[in-house]
Subunit: 299 residues, 4 copies
């Protein structure tokens, strides 16, 4: 007997699909969430958000409230950050994911974000989980640093049992003895959780590896293993980032990654929804191809 | 340069001593906190509390709010549990330690408890830590399941930096690959933390081992390693305990442990304050000895 | 300064390619090693070997000497197993990989195998590593259960420093707190080791996961992350296997996996060399296509 | 049903006691093995050996064959080191413990050492274990870096099943995520293994912690937890040690530790056999006390 009930995959094998804006998480599309670790300023964020949209990101990320190991580190812009997120959402039309640390911010965060993120360190903050069970927003639940898969699913069960059926699980690396990477991404957890549960599973290769150069290969691996989506940290100037710079991609790196993901996604039967720009380009290309193939002398 | 400042040991080597009731945590005395995992009912708790006092416990423990891995497990009696704790304090005169899960319970918990416990899962619940920094009560901060010593001290730093200088660190076992015990107690952390910080360090061998038979040897080891105190789970009927039964001592086991701890404590230069009963007994013994030594022909 | 020298990637970025039979490990081809955990009998092994060849395996695996946690478990057929491997090599023309446990078996094992495997438990058996440095065969060096990437590369350095330049690194999962899978495959280690070293890196998803159903997704992930090859356990009747049954694929499962790997390999710029049967089929198909395209009225 | 049989504690609860020279490991005495990590030279070793004897060490340690993570590190003096050990044994009369890496050295090592040590990295070198099962010497089996207690006992079972009943288990710290110490000593393993098995268990706080200052408190903890003995690294000049300097005690530190251990040992019902010097001193003291008590006017 499983210790979790609502999170467990049923006989029918039906999967939870979560519609946010124009994308569906948990369905046939691969969903990519991108953005900086933290919202650091209005203009930079809006500019990056537009760029990411053009490059094909489906949702935006950005922390307004940042849980930091040290009390002396930058902890985010707070309410001001939320407003910037709301503006980015209006400007780009993309849904927004942001972390919530304190149940007392639930209303404010819900007003600005489409998906509420629970960070690793709060995976077993049961008070927060129960409050999110009563929120009217999907929850992105990161796996705890040393949480077993069962504990992770039981944390999801807290939210489900409190009335919110829309939980997205996010593997972000676990803590092991290896120190060459920030964490060790448990890639086997992706297919295993999809076997045990009907909830969508995404992977955050940025926190999992902590090293920019490892983000693309691990992102590809995640898609190949069956992940429903990815969460990628991108910063215009990672060297100046107030947090997580070493693991953030430059925008060009993100664009290259999006291109690399497509054939992998296709290989496992997933589509990657194109950005508007790409759609336009594709329309032009297709038209051109048609013209060419209409022309005599075609081979 | 240390990442924590207020928690770091200073050149003077002075140590934080926290006076609660008649005991001082962090001073020359070894302090023993005892009680069941959770407060399960009024009469049983009061009876056990009196028994533990007589056996030499210096503080009482008991959870009113229990963080549980599964949403379907017993989560404590809540406010009712707090009232029982307050009554036990009145009846025994012993100070009380209990866990706080939600900053919104701060006033209620502070009214009934002398020390506020932050559990392992909340060690990096920074919202809660900051609130506790503003509380007028000492905080017992358990080490997270996979928290490094530095992260643990930084979590303490959150409380200190928010204005509360009275933090007690509690090593309760970390998560490793070994499954023969519930956790692996990091015994080396005790002298290391005492070297790095001026804060008192206690050990919880009950959660650390998860097995009743291992509690006494690990408790002895903790004292030998220099711990300022112990936190021991005791239950009148561990087989019927609503949580953590397998790791709870029977009262007789606790009494035997208290006797075993004395010579170890003495060997590392610590006293163990005697219970009233023991004091009385000792007075009788001493008087008898005096009578004997007063008698002529003594050898 | 790196602690390993010969194993470190040089400025030129040149990679070690190891030619064994008709395949090259570390080059543009994805190399697949397949076979049962242990050689359990002559007929079964030969039959499976032929089947695997037809399905596209490039090398055969099979243990003659098995390191087993318990002294009472099946430890392989020993010398008899080696002879069966030699016969399978003759019959299929495929090179053979097998584990060596004892330096004193070096001559016997080298006579029957093309690649000598060092198992996880022997990764730091420096005596064995030094002997293998003097062997005239490539060595497949599995990562130790709890070896850091640096220790793994230093173990390779032992072999290189003793004169053998042909070392293949094999990630096979590390030991973590998670018990839902046998080990946790460190997928980030694949690109990281390829960045740090010029040696080829393959992945063993069978030992890494310990669960048959997780083998294909993790194998796909390994290829997507840039692995030079895979080592897959296949058994005709996993339920009757004398070791590692639960993680062994059925032959049909292996065939399906080979098909799934192709588009992933292609997506990361790797070819998968076809089996003879497939080549023949392809020749037929191509001929047919050519015929068709030669025909008038072709669109 | 236990997977190990010969290593399992029997109903009678009888314990294996191993007599080496004048000490018995696994009996009521606490046994202390001391010496440098490696034998680095004749004179220094002999001098230290005599000093350690005088300070109360019961056995000598010293590596002649050192397993080193890097092929470029000092690997011990080999056969020359063995001869120095043999001489130290003659000169001091103390039995000697040294590591064996290669079964082919069995005869040579057995000629010079009283106890053959299997290091952490070789705990599952089953070839070596089986050979040691046929050796006529007790074996000190260190726990592997990431070996579970069950795997450790099964490794002992290999030696027992091959005919050697004299195995001493040595807890030397396991590998965890914590990097503040070299390893994490699993103090709970001491009483647990003594509950599961009849074999003696000792602790090596030097490798377990990797820091000189933590050796005494962890050594005391080990004794308090019930360990049958300790293995302590001591070097005349740790700063110049060719290996493990940071974790080696100075001779004075060792002497101080021996004094600290006595009351702890007594508290758990163990004796610490005195060195000759101490015996002499004690004889003098007792005589003096007797003289005093014989004198009139005694109180």
């Amino acid at each position: 007997m499983k210790s979790y009930k609502l999170a467990a995959r049923t006989c029918s094998g039906e999967r939870t699909m979560i519609r946010v804006g124009e994308v569906t998480i948990g369905g046939p599309e691969l969903v990519v969430i991108a953005g900086p670790c933290a919202v650091e300023g209005r203009e930079a964020y809006l500019q990056l958000a537009l760029q990411l949209k053009e490059m094909g990101a489906h949702l935006l990320r950005g922390g307004a409230f940042k849980p930091r190991t040290s009390p002396y580190s930058f902890k985010g812009l707070g309410r001001e950050g939320l407003e910037i997120l709301a503006e980015a959402r209006r400007v780009t039309g993309l849904p927004v994911v942001t972390e919530i640390l304190d149940a007392r911010d639930l209303e404010a965060v819900s007003a600005c974000a489409d998906i509420l993120q629970v960070g690793s360190r709060n995976m077993q903050n049961f008070t927060l989980l129960q409050e999110l069970g009563r929120a009217g927003r999907p929850v992105l639940l990161k796996r705890g640093l040393s949480a077993t898969i069962e504990e992770w699913l039981l944390a999801a069960e807290y939210i489900l049992a409190a009335g919110n059926p829309n939980v997205i699980l996010c593997e972000r690396g676990i803590r092991t003895f290896e120190t060459a990477t920030r964490n060790t991404v448990d890639i086997g957890a992706v297919p295993l959780v999809r076997e045990l549960s009907h909830l969508p599973v995404i992977v955050d290769p940025s926190h999992a590896t902590g090293r920019r150069r490892l983000v693309p290969p691990v992102a590809r691996a995640a898609v190949a293993a069956g992940a429903d989506g990815l969460m990628i940290e991108v910063h215009q100037n990672p060297d100046l980032a107030l947090s997580d710079g070493p693991q953030s991609l430059h925008p060009e790196g993100f664009q290259k990654l999006m291109q690399e993901l497509r054939p992998i996604a296709a290989a496992v039967g997933r589509e990657v929804r194109l950005s508007k720009k790409e759609n336009n380009q594709l329309a032009v290309d297709t038209a051109a191809t048609r013209l060419l193939s209409d022309s005599p002398g075609d081979i």
